[in-house]
Amino acid sequence: MPPILEAHGLTKRFKTTQALDGLDLTAERGQVTAILGPNGAGKTTFIRMVATLLLPDEGTLTVAGIDAIKEPDRVRRAIGLAGQSAAVEGAMSGRENLELVGRLFGHDARQAKASANVVLDLLGLTESADRLVRTYSGGMRRKLDLGASLVGAPELLLLDEPTTGLDPRSRNDLWDAIRDLVAAGTDVLLTTQYLDEADQLAARIAIIDHGKVIADGTPDELKSLAGIDVVQVHVADPADLDRAIAALAPLGCEAPRVDRPTRSIAVPVEKGSAQLLEAVRALDAIDLPVSDIGLRRATLDEVFLSLTGRPAEAEPDPGANGSAAPTDRSRRRRRAAA
């Protein structure tokens, strides 16, 4: 069986922006593939192309073995799309929404009714099925939107930032629903700018930036991709932070990332434990008390930062005031992450 998705050399230009710039990606069947990237990286453009809403300027794209450029209607029968904004009708009940989409998938009235029931049950929405959707919570709307993309029993489910803007509880709920689908055998391609979302759901992550895949692998592969470990230091006294940074900076292969509220300094290093020892000596030499020091693997967050030069969840234009900075990397400031 061909891969569920194969993209080669996709490009797309909108007036002044190059949204996709030679994107290559193959997604295998039987797993979740996450497209991870900052705002404006080209995630949404790519998923809209897979959903047959956009044509590429160049390149080839097959979905479930079907040429998406030549035979969009066959692709539409194989996919389900749930978007950033939940495209369900507030003035209709949950059941009516699903039945409508079922009819549009070519089901007759009886089949559409049956499919709606199965989906409502699967997503735990049966109790609210006959209420108007405008009375639903944000999380329930997203779930229903997900449900609407399922009534056609898609081979490939496309989720464009499925949990953006949801509170943590609804987010977990939706993750569970997606995991259940995957367990039942649906292939999923999702875009996200949340690293933990990719880490939680995806077997395979493609990091894209400026319209290209810049890294691609399992979460574990990506975490060890750069060959980077991190020396993590918590200083005891906030007044010592700047001295500690000065002492540790020469050891790192990149500039240390500092989180002032927690008094912690993360120094990316290339030689692991040898450099942990150096760090201990360096701090001891200036007689600086630490409350904790250790070596750990880089998080996906840090890998992302290393690869793209900016944090995943921050606004674009990270280095607006970095005039004196010698490199792009040293300008980065880690976002105070929760």
Binding site: E28, R29, L55, A86, A87, A91, M92, L104, G106, L158
Partner: protein, 280 residues
């Protein structure tokens, strides 16, 4: 390089659901999309009824406030005004259609539809059909309010039905333009601003005052623009015997011109609107 999952060789049917074997037809799609859009309006009674109340209020103001100062060639003002109101209603419904289409685009509803195996043109047609139905409801209400306010006609029932049919057809034809404008605008706020374009057409017409009372240069526009043709046709149908004397031409004359305008709108704007639903 690739991670092979053991489920690959035996594809499990996702859910216990039938997979679509054929696309939904154009008719099913058009009706499905139209039904949703009608429900969206009818189930928001605050907005829907407010629109009607607003229309009735303007009718009252024109009838009782301005009406006394307007002379209409021996025809009672209320008999002159109500056909004008019904005709302009076509444009105001169009404005709502434009805002609605922009909202569908912004909310992602059109993306959902376009990702489904349905004919593209049916998505547009569904929207237009719904807006035509809504316009018909609106013009029915306006007509009833008009009768309540003293509008009378001596025209035969056939003439009245022709007048209604013409308005419904005009609503259908104009909606293609308005949906196109809404899709170009991209969001409801912009569509609403763009919708202000209807004002010169509604007021610089024969809808509320006789064209002869306007300055000469304005008359040229007012007399020949499409809304005046439609309003005059409706008026000619409802005035019965007085029509030829008051309007200078027969109902057939205005109806033919109206139909030509409507056909022109459909031929030009329907393909442009439908094209917006294709892949970008």
């Amino acid at each position: 390089m690739t991670t092979v999952n053991p489920t690959v060789e035996t594809p499990i049917r996702t859910l216990d659901l039938p997979r679509p074997t054929h696309a939904a037809g154009a008719l099913t799609t058009t009706l499905g999309v139209a039904r949703r859009t009608v429900l969206r309006n009818v189930r928001n009674p605050q907005v829907f009824i407010l629109g009607m109340v607003q229309g009735a209020m303007f009718l009252l103001i024109f009838r009782y406030v301005f009406g006394g100062a307007i002379t209409t060639n021996g025809v009672r003002y209320v008999d002159f005004l109500v056909p004008g109101f019904v005709g302009t209603g076509v444009l105001f419904s169009g404005m709502t259609a434009s805002i609605g289409a922009a909202g569908d685009l912004e909310e992602g509803f059109f993306d959902r539809l376009r990702s489904l195996p349905v004919p593209r043109v049916a998505i547009a047609a569904g929207r237009v059909l719904a807006d035509t139905v809504l316009a018909t409801i609106g013009l029915t209400v306006t007509t009833l309010v008009g009768f309540a306010m003293g509008f009378r006609t001596s025209a035969p029932l056939g003439g009245l039905l022709l007048a209604v049919a013409l308005c419904v057809f005009a609503a259908f034809a104009f909606t293609w333009l308005f949906v196109l404008l809404g899709l170009i605008a991209g969001n409801p706020q912009a569509a609403q601003s763009l919708g202000l374009l209807v004002f010169p057409f509604t007021f610089v017409s024969s809808a509320f005052v006789p064209v002869e009372s306007m300055p000469g240069w304005m008359q040229a526009f007012a007399r020949n623009q499409p809304l005046t043709q439609i309003v005059s046709a409706v008026r000619a149908f409802t005035l019965g015997d007085d029509a030829q004397r008051v309007l200078g031409h027969s109902a057939g004359y205005f109806a033919t011109r109206s139909l030509v305008w409507c056909a022109l709108f459909i031929v030009v704007f329907a393909p442009l609107a439908a094209r917006r639903y294709q892949r970008g």
